[in-house]
């Protein structure tokens, strides 16, 4: 019997015999037991080392908060606190469910947000109030002399030498610590003095994106609105406002939430780098790919999102309009002419202006498209109806003119109650005149502009424009030759139909004819076949899926001078394929987007509409353009932008003159408004025994009063005090940074441009030989970190971070409202923005005794969108020499009483107007009577004093409660109330969208617990009813509620005079501005030799773009140590290897980049990602990190905006006409900056700081 006894039952798990021997040997001498396979060792005890690691991840509490100001992500975060110190943050995962069959929102958050807590204790944290030493010294001396702070301030700013001294010191260090007491005293004194001497409209506040911390924004805005200062818009100033949205939809920007991307089956990401700039939402795009979604990326560079795409389309920068135009050509031809796709035709009939009639006009030799035919043109009964000028006309199936419901003329008239809807009844309007059964075959050859040509030699000054002759079918209506918008679209897009006159493309391969795929290939470099394929697929998918084709568009295409035209070509695609208002379809624009979901309550609070109306709300771009004197350098001739078919309205005028006209006509707001103090104007009127409005009209007529916009260089017209909080204009958004420094602040700057010569200056503005410098008396900034702006500020207030205060956040990316909560109290001497403005208001009220009592103020308010004001300009005909009538041909002049001593009390309590006048948002008035009563109980009322019995708004949480209680999205009762009004106006059943939530309220305690889904409300155009995903215009499409436009439909055609002048009646391709021709800049691609500093070095001219960075957008800034470590850190410019090769630049070399606006020093990142001829310098490079002295200027600095400047486009200045009317952040000139050109050379590699 043999017996084998194996030494082990299992084989040893070692690397081999040697290891086995070593380990096997040791088991006899070491402590503990070794497993049989020699794999594991078992020891007793010895875990003392664990304590450290357990402590590392232990914490005392977790607090819900989020990232404020700029991040559209609006992600809810867990902030961890340990021993009173904020230690780290992590993503919240408790978002309400999206429902079955879709990915969820949670978790949301990106690496930038996860790095935010670094700021709490960062070296750049502003811990104490600071003042510039020069100013402090002079102020203290003056205070000792005068005693009264207001008089002391007056003596400082009135002394030319002293004021010159402290203004010149701006940006050159010298900030010293001061006390809150002194800082508030100086700030309050400056406000009192400025109001008294120059007027409240000489004070401005700037703070962007309220959606991402409504109370922090609103507290300051409320203060400004109570004193009569102006709040500057930001959406248009950031160039994030797509002007095409007001033009086409009559809506600011309304887009789907990101979960709706999942519903799309064809997604084009066009100039929007979703994984980088919408990181927490990008997963919906990648997940939808698993569901079969086709993804297209359109981007000139190899962006991060390209790797997700099935196809990459790489047009030349700024030529996207041509690309979309050619796709439109393919879709119109194949889906609407060769074959009439039923769904598209039906959609265009009901929801677009395509079937509406436009009269043709004779202009010179040629026939051009003119104005929409309205009921007033028809004569008879139709013309006699109220507002017939604004009731547009289409044909019925027999070819007779019909005035359908739902146009602007039906919106406000009592007679038309119940008729403002999209119900066409039995009318089935033909899209084309040619579709009318008894059309007689009449047609006309019309002239259309084109801007795609290279200028003829010798004609460079006139630019590259020309005229196309194409035919449209016509018929006679009311004595006019008319055609439809659809016919005009086919002509514009070059889609030929048999029997029409004019010149037409011979086919897709006709490269000469605008509109064809071959034509766009010449401009964009994108192969025609690719355009045909994508256009076809986009429409085919829309047809088969019922409209689930989506274009996700962004800053890459929206920051151009002509971005409104680019976007209109995009929106034409989504409208002509019936995708708008459909889940998973339509446009999706997010850059800078801010959706204050509880809009009505926020507006009440922030504009202090409970105390006085209206607030002064300004258009940011125009304000800065004038304040920084950029108009003196600009001289952009408006007629250079004009169509060759223009009447000549713009002849001899610059775009600055267009701004003057727009202001005078009351189209756009402008503050400071008049050349005198508006408080004094009221006093003068009283002395003269007149109404202030009459007094102003008389004074303007007799020439004794002027608009400030006509002479921004006059000292009485300077903006005197600017407050910034949650903002960094001088490090981030300040297009024309060097002009700001030179003229607004009066300190060193590297402006290289010459001022406009005598023939190039604005016609309607006063030219002073000596340009104003140092216009601003006080720049005060509240921030939690040192930025370029704080470095130039006279007073710096230490602000609480987003983890140190109560506030509200909402976004359009998701349908939830959630909260900020303080993880710790504001450390050091920091205060929340709410507390800052509360204390400033208090000090202001104290200091104004003896200087300001109860005063009357006259506010020049522009003609406002969503009010009857928009009917001031019938047919968009701009009247010449019309008498001044406030509210019609000039701004409304509204007297507001300002009780300055009571200012603080008003700031912290709810005023009477909310109850008396209600709250109007987008023409719907909400009556929150029950809510006011309830707030009195929950917030409490002031027990005594001036505002005894009024609801308390004296803490940030109470303000949050007010916002939530007064908005339909967070209060079902108000949502239903609003819908009932809308039902009356439209005659359609809509209120059921909110009825099941009528009793629902979202309170602050709710959003502290969990992000809460909003309630469907008439404040917005989409629906969340029944848990569906929000998509814009769902209510319009499904419940026949008109868009807020002239026809009440989506507009392809715009008939305002100025749109005609610009040749932009219809979607059209306009190339980037030719900066060489217009301003003598270098030609892109030009390689030369540097003169001046760095002489002899090769230099190359390239297009200069400032896109959003992976390492600083949006919850984060580039100075964060983590972000600096992840990126290369410091100022960098991305170049293609080709361009770098031309000038001998290697990766990481120091380079200088300059143009007429200034200079910037950076290190080159040479990357194949970049296309030749284009460079990137990421947006928001502050001058706080690694900014050396430039060879070119000899001065420190240069940030990304040193190379840009403001350029106004006249079409953005139109107002008082239908959807082309001003509202805050709805319409205004954009601060575009993509058209710039810069010259780059390698500089000395020895940099000095």
């Amino acid at each position: 019997m043999t017996q084998t006894e194996p030494r082990r039952r299992t084989a040893p798990a070692t690397d081999g015999p040697l290891a086995e021997a070593l380990v096997g040997m040791s088991r006899f001498v070491r402590r503990g037991d070794v497993s049989e396979d020699l794999r594991a060792l078992f020891l007793k005890g010895g875990r003392e080392g664990d304590v450290f690691y357990r402590d590392r991840w232990s914490h005392d509490k977790v607090v819900r908060s989020t990232h404020g100001v700029n991040c559209t992500g609006s992600c809810s975060w867990k902030v961890y606190v340990k021993d009173g110190i904020i230690t780290w943050e992590a993503q919240q995962t408790d978002y309400p469910s999206v429902g079955p069959d879709s990915p969820e929102y949670e978790p949301r958050g990106c690496p930038r947000g996860a790095a935010f807590s670094w700021y709490t204790y960062s070296p750049t944290r502003v811990r104490y109030p600071y003042i510039r030493e020069t100013l402090a010294r002079h102020y203290r001396a003056a205070k000792a002399q005068h005693g009264d702070p207001v008089e002391a301030w007056a003596s400082v700013v009135d002394d030319p030498e002293i004021s010159r001294a402290y203004k010149r010191a701006r940006g050159k260090g010298g900030l010293v610590r001061t006390t809150w007491d002194e800082a508030l005293e100086i700030a309050a004194a400056a406000h009192v003095h400025t109001i008294k001497r120059y007027g409240p409209d000489r004070i401005a506040g700037f703070s962007p994106i309220p959606a991402m911390s409504m109370v922090s924004h609103g507290a300051g805005s409320r203060f400004m609105s109570l004193i009569g200062g102006s709040m500057l818009s930001f959406y248009d100033w950031y160039a994030d406002l797509p002007v095409a949205s007001p033009q086409v939809f009559g809506d600011q920007t309304d887009v789907p939430e990101s979960a709706d991307w999942w519903n799309s089956s064809y997604l084009m990401m066009w100039g929007s780098n979703v994984p980088v700039t919408r990181t927490p939402d990008a997963h919906f795009m990648t997940e939808a790919r698993y569901r079969g979604q086709k993804v297209i990326t359109v981007s000139p560079d190899y962006t991060d999102n390209t790797k997700f795409a099935d196809e990459w389309v790489a047009p030349h920068p700024g030529t996207d309009g041509a690309l979309a135009f050619a796709m439109g050509h393919v879709i119109l031809k194949e889906f609407l002419v060769d074959r009439q796709t039923e769904r598209f035709v039906d959609y265009l009939r009901r929801y677009s202006d395509a079937p509406y009639l436009v009269a043709l006009e004779q202009r010179g030799e040629q026939l051009v498209p003119g104005k929409f035919v309205t009921a007033s043109d028809l004569g008879g009964e139709a013309a006699a109806a109220p507002r017939a000028d604004f009731k547009t006309v289409l044909l019925d199936q027999q070819g007779s003119p019909v005035v359908p419901n739902g146009s602007l003329g039906h919106r406000f008239t009592p007679e038309d109650e119940g008729r403002w809807n999209l119900d066409l009844g039995t009318t089935v309007p033909p899209l084309s005149v040619a579709d009318v059964p008894d059309w007689d075959g009449a047609s006309a050859e019309i002239a259309l502009p084109r801007f795609d040509l290279a200028p003829e030699p010798g004609q460079e000054h006139a630019g590259g424009s020309g005229v196309l002759l194409r035919g449209v079918p016509t018929m006679e209506v009311a004595g006019r030759t008319v055609t439809t918008v659809f016919d005009l679209m086919l002509a514009q897009y070059g889609v030929a139909r048999a029997g029409l006159p004019g010149s037409w493309p011979s086919g897709y391969d006709d490269a000469e004819a605008p509109g064809t795929p071959a034509w766009q290939q010449e401009l964009t470099s994108v192969p025609a076949e690719q355009v045909i394929r994508i256009g076809r697929e986009f429409a085919d998918n829309a047809e088969q899926s019922g409209g689930r084709s989506m274009i996700l568009m962004g800053a890459g295409t929206n920051h151009w001078f002509h971005s409104d035209t680019i976007y209109r070509t995009f929106l034409a695609l989504t409208t002509m394929t019936g995708c708008q208002g459909v889940n998973g379809g339509g446009w999706a624009h997010y850059v800078g987007q801010e959706k204050v979901r509880p809009l009505t309550g926020y507006s009440q609070y922030a504009t202090a509409a409970d105390w006085n109306r209206p607030a002064r709300l300004a258009i940011g771009t125009a304000f800065w353009y004038l304040a920084s004197e950029q108009w003196r350098y600009d001289g952009l001739p408006a007629d250079q932008l004009a169509s060759p078919l223009a009447r000549g309205t713009f002849a001899g005028r610059t775009t600055a003159d267009c701004l003057v006209e727009s202001t005078k006509r009351g189209w756009m707001p402008s503050f400071p408004t008049f050349s005198r103090n508006p408080l004094d104007l009221c006093d003068e009127a009283e002395a003269a025994g007149k109404e202030p409005a009459q007094h102003i009209v008389d004074s303007l007529t007799d020439g004794s009063l002027h608009y400030a916009v006509e002479d921004p260089g006059a000292p009485e017209n300077f903006p005197r005090v600017i407050s910034m909080w949650r903002a960094n204009v001088l490090g981030s958004s300040g297009k024309g940074n060097e002009y700001f420094l030179k003229h607004l602040l009066g300190t060193d700057a590297a402006v290289r441009a010459e001022e406009s010569g005598p023939g190039e200056r604005p016609r309607d503005m006063v030219w002073r030989e000596e340009a104003a410098s140092g216009k601003l008396d006080l720049l005060m900034t509240a921030d939690f970190r040192m930025t370029s702006t704080t470095l130039f500020s006279d007073l710096v207030f230490p602000a609480a971070t987003w983890y140190e205060k109560y506030d509200l956040s909402s976004t359009d990316m998701h349908p939830f409202i959630h909260s900020f909560n303080p993880a710790i109290n504001p450390p050091w001497q920091t205060k929340t923005d709410f507390d800052l403005f509360g204390e400033l208001a208090k000090r202001f009220s104290e200091l104004c005794e003896g200087h300001l009592g109860v005063r009357r103020d006259v506010v020049a308010a522009p003609l406002q969108h969503d009010t009857p004001d928009v009917m001031a300009t019938p047919h968009g005909r701009v009247p010449e020499g019309a008498p001044l009538v406030p509210g019609v041909t000039m701004p409304k002049l509204i007297v507001v009483e300002r009780d300055y001593p009571a200012l603080y009390d008003r700031w912290r309590s709810l005023g009477p107007l909310t109850e008396q006048l209600g709250m109007t948002t987008k023409a719907i008035t909400y009556r929150p009577d029950e809510e006011i009563e309830a707030l009195g109980h929950s917030n409490g009322v002031h027990p005594s004093g001036r505002v005894a019995g009024r609801v308390r708004l004296d803490s940030d949480k109470r303000a949050c409660e007010m916002i939530l209680a007064f908005s339909g999205t967070s209060n079902g009762r108000l949502a239903v109330q609003g819908f009932r009004q809308l039902e009356q106006r439209t005659g359609q059943r809509i209120a059921h969208l909110a009825e099941d939530h009528e009793g629902s309220r979202i309170t602050f305690a709710d959003v502290q617990q969990q992000p809460r889904s909003v309630i469907t409300s008439p404040e917005w155009s989409g629906s969340e009813h029944g848990g569906r995903r929000y998509t814009a215009f769902a209510i319009n499409v499904e419940h026949l509620k008109p868009w807020h436009t002239l026809t009440g439909r989506q507009h392809f055609y715009l008939d305002h005079d100025w749109m005609e002048e610009l040749g932009e009646n219809l979607p059209i391709y306009r190339p980037p501005l030719d900066m060489h021709r217009l301003f003598g800049d270098a030609k892109i691609g030009h390689v030369g030799e540097a003169t001046g500093p760095g002489a002899g070095q090769a230099e190359v001219a390239v297009r200069y773009l400032t896109p959003h960075s992976k390492w600083s957008i949006h919850s984060e800034y580039q100075d964060n140590l983590f972000m600096l470590s992840l990126s290369r850190g410091g100022p960098t410019i991305w170049m293609s290897p080709q361009d770098a090769g031309k000038v001998g630049v290697r990766d990481n070399d120091w380079i200088e980049s300059y143009n007429r606006n200034g200079v910037v020093v950076a290190r080159a990142i040479v990357s194949h990602r970049m296309p030749e001829g284009t460079v990137f310098m990421y947006h928001a490079k502050d001058r706080t990190i690694d900014v050396p002295i430039a060879e070119t200027s000899g001065k420190r600095g240069g940030i990304h905006n040193s190379l840009t400047r403001i350029l106004l486009k006249p079409s953005h200045l139109i107002g008082g006409y239908a959807q082309l009317a001003w509202a805050f952040n709805y319409l205004g000139p954009t601060g575009n900056q993509r058209d710039e050109v810069t010259t780059i050379r390698r500089r000395s590699q020895e940099v000095e700081y």
Partner: protein, 252 residues
């Protein structure tokens, strides 16, 4: 016996030893997480794969040679039959081989450290100082061996330096033994003493935490919990919880 000799051969060695011992204690207490080789392997690997094993194998052989030469009295070796000649021949041949290996390894490492950008950026001032004294010590030692042992007549350090060193450790210092030692040996000793004094403040501390045990240890180590609740010491007023008696959970 001059004062300078007292300083060099009595004071300096003790100062060096005290700095070495106290320095390590201090470093261990205050910089546990800095107790590291500061490995630069992630930055560069090709050169390191040659330089590091050459240097480390060489230096271990050098160490072994020094232990034999300095700490074992020659009489003991005679007793086991290792004659002066055999020792001399062995020490010189093996020592030279070790020296070549070590110096070549060090040369590669220093070259790498200077020329590879990321490695150079990760080099601290203390690293540079350490390299100077390490190179000096090795250089003088090699030079002394070459000059006196290979090409010279052979210096009997086992009559002078070795007993002197042992006298230091025996707290009966005999500096006079060092009176006639050639200058190269003296420099070698002094630079080594300086290196020992710097030792605890450099990456050389890793000598004491070289993971030799890895060779003999199973991959996976399980440590049982101590007999306390959690990993922290029990606090006053907190009763320990124990597993309920399973018997009590059942109905009788």
């Amino acid at each position: 016996m001059s004062a300078i000799e007292i300083v060099l051969w009595v004071a300096v060695p003790y100062v060096s030893i005290i700095a070495f011992i106290a320095g390590h204690i201090w470093r261990y207490r205050y910089d546990k997480f800095g107790w590291t080789t500061r490995s630069s392997q992630t930055y560069e690997n090709t050169l390191l794969r040659w330089g590091s094993p050459m240097f480390h194998l060489g230096i271990l052989m050098v160490l072994a040679g020094h232990v034999v030469g300095l700490f074992i009295p020659r009489e003991w070796l005679y007793a086991i039959g290792i004659t002066e000649e055999m020792y001399h021949w062995g020490a010189t041949v093996m020592g030279s081989f070790a020296a070549v290996l070590t110096l070549a390894g060090l040369a590669i490492l220093i070259y790498r450290r200077r020329t590879v950008g990321p490695v150079f950026l990760a080099t601290t001032v203390m690293d540079k100082v350490m390299y100077v004294f390490l190179a000096l010590t090795l250089g003088f030692g090699t030079l002394a061996t070459v000059v006196h042992q290979v090409f010279g007549s052979g210096f009997q350090y086992r009559e002078t330096i070795s007993p002197w060193l042992r006298s230091i450790f025996g707290f009966q210092p005999q500096p006079e033994l060092m009176a006639n030692v050639p200058i190269l040996f003296e420099l070698h000793v002094l630079s080594a003493l300086a290196l020992f004094a710097l030792w605890p403040f450099t990456r050389l501390v890793h000598v004491f935490s070289a993971p030799v045990g890895y060779l003999f240890r199973p991959y996976v180590v399980y440590r049982s919990r101590d007999d306390v609740q959690g990993t922290r010491a029990p606090k006053r007023g907190w009763d320990p919880i124990s597993t309920p008696d399973p018997q009590r959970l059942r109905r009788p």
